[in-house]
């Protein structure tokens, strides 16, 4: 039988080290809603989402209370809207209208974000997909809870540079459309390479077309727990360090698996995956950067950071994989800047630059995340950063993403404030040399040689 020390260990993780389940995300396929009649399409989308997710929030809260574990977010992801709306939308404004339907459904069900205002254009854009992309500034500035993601490349297809160019412009336009709130629209917009179909984390969650009708995916967290565990092995060798991370990740993931199975049972929806990510929040002690410091770096960004992050990412996966029946999503360590107090401190101290962050994205689970840049950054430069990040993902067969926020009216030295889990971020300097001619070329970067596996 379980003993008092084990019970105390678990409760200490929850109460003092911010152990929580970060999100229960219900993935809902909207393919059955497709209709050429725009009004019918809107009704079908709203009805399906509100019908399927009616009990999602209440169930999450009940599980949280029964097990005494906080479940921070309850969210919904849907089929990429470019596909769902393709037959009915005649203009970008029509698509933005669908975003408002999603927003209304999110309010009705009580979820704090709904993801899937998306298009998958890794090889090329259909006119409908381009229309959806062009509607993003309007969609994100006229809704609160809708998240958008665009997949512009993959290892199998190469990179759609036309889409990369367009996304640079769209990010800037979205920033301008939400300038009153420090360009917060861009915090809800992710550009992916190799986007996973089953990611439960926002802003990049969407319900892939390979998925079933409805599924429950769970994202775990726990940077604070890992950091506390590492305090006990200060000065120990790397084997001990890795073993400690692995054991801790196992324990954290087991809680995620339990919550996922319970949610799946209570909602009568199949369990999909557990996403094993270490997801930081702005709360003190809930930081991935602090884990890197505990591993032995004065500040995140110091030499050794990439290696430390690589081992952290790998051990989290090794510990987590055994703890769950199915893992997926992004799975690894997140390194958002604004959502992690340790990262913010590292930027403010001059330890962490955009270039070092780019290097770190080669070995972590996502990419350049929640990074505020000057509002006068050009669209071409943003596209260049996206292309760099996508190239890392394409060549290394991993997911990479860019969530940059050009904060209109602010420059290096200023601070952008987004509030809540999105946090605040110092504006980081961007390399000022132009890549205009590179981005202007247009077309596609072909798939890398190692994608030909058949």
């Amino acid at each position: 039988m379980i003993n008092i020390f084990e019970v105390n260990e678990t409760n200490k993780m929850i109460e003092q080290e911010n152990l929580d389940v970060r999100t229960i995300t219900m993935g809902i396929s909207l393919l059955s809603c497709v209709d050429s009649d725009f009004e019918k399409l809107k009704t079908k989308i709203y009805d399906k989402i509100t019908g399927y997710a009616r009990d999602l929030v209440a169930t999450g809260d009940r599980i949280s209370m029964e097990y005494g574990i906080p479940i921070v977010n309850k969210r919904i992801s849907v089929t990429p809207i470019s596909l769902v709306g393709g037959g009915a939308c005649r203009s970008a404004s029509d698509y933005a209208e669908l975003a408002k339907v999603l927003d209304k459904a999110a309010y009705e069900t009580g979820v704090n974000f709904i993801g899937g205002y998306s298009a998958l254009v890794s090889k090329g854009m259909t006119p409908q997909e381009e229309m959806l992309i062009r509607s993003i500034p309007e969609a994100l500035s006229s809704t609160e809870r809708v998240c958008s993601s665009i997949n512009i490349g993959s290892t199998r297809t190469g990179i759609d540079m036309d889409a990369v160019k367009l996304m640079g412009e769209i990010i800037l336009e979205t920033a301008k459309a939400t300038r009153e709130n420090d360009s917060i629209g861009c915090a809800k917009l992710v550009v992916f390479c190799n986007a996973p179909d089953d990611n439960p984390f926002m802003a990049g969650a969407f319900h892939g077309v390979t998925e079933g009708d409805c599924v429950i995916n769970v994202g775990v967290s726990g940077p604070g727990v890992v950091r506390t565990a590492l305090k006990d092995v200060r000065g120990a060798d790397f084997e001990t360090l890795c073993e400690t991370i692995k054991r801790t990740a196992f324990k954290v993931t087991r809680v995620g698996q339990l919550v996922a199975m319970e949610a799946s049972k209570q909602l009568n929806v199949p369990f999909g995956i557990v996403d094993l990510s270490l997801a930081p929040t702005p709360a003190i002690g809930d930081s991935v950067a602090e884990i890197l410091e505990e591993i032995g770096l004065e500040r995140a960004g110091a030499p050794g950071t990439t290696a430390a992050l690589a081992l952290l990412n790998d051990q989290v996966k090794k510990g987590g994989v055994m703890a769950s029946t199915a893992v997926g999503g992004l799975s690894g360590a997140f390194i958002p800047v604004s959502e992690d107090q340790g990262m913010i401190d590292a930027v403010n101290d001059g330890a962490l630059t955009l270039e070092k962050l780019e290097a770190m994205t080669c070995v972590c689970s996502v990419g350049l995340d929640m990074i505020a840049i000057p509002g006068n950054t050009s669209a071409a430069t943003i596209s260049g950063i996206i292309a760099d990040e996508a190239a890392i993902g394409m060549v290394n067969q991993k997911t990479t993403a860019v969530r940059l926020i050009p904060v209109i009216g602010k420059d290096v030295g200023d601070i952008a404030t987004f509030g809540g889990l999105l946090g605040h971020a110092p504006i980081m300097p961007v390399n000022g040399f132009s890549c205009e001619a590179f981005i202007e070329r247009g077309g596609r970067i072909p798939a890398p040689i190692h994608s030909f596996k058949n």
Binding site: I4, E6, V7, T10, E66, G68, V255
Partner: protein, 90 residues
């Protein structure tokens, strides 16, 4: 039978166990196991309980035990045992 783990943590004082056990008895909750230690002056108790005969649901029990804890000056949590089993047993 789903077992419930009740933990009580706080400053040691007279009658903590008595008050908690009285509440459990009044609500027909059977105590299967108790362990208790004092760590640096802090009272630390864990009970394994069977709540299946109680009329109250987990939410009500959890809330009432938490309120009782406030009254005594300790923190009382009431959790299904699965969270501990999952984390600490393969």
């Amino acid at each position: 039978m789903k077992k419930t783990i009740i933990t009580v943590v706080g400053n040691d004082t007279v009658g903590i166990i008595a008050k908690v056990c009285t509440y459990l008895a009044d609500n027909r909750i059977n105590i299967l196991d108790i362990s208790q230690t004092i760590v640096q002056g802090y009272f630390n108790m864990m009970m394994v309980a069977d709540t299946s005969a109680s009329d109250k649901d987990h939410g009500t029990l959890s809330k009432e035990l938490s309120d009782l804890g406030d009254e005594i000056g300790v923190v009382i949590h009431c959790q299904h045992e699965d969270i501990f089993n999952k984390m600490h047993r393969i």
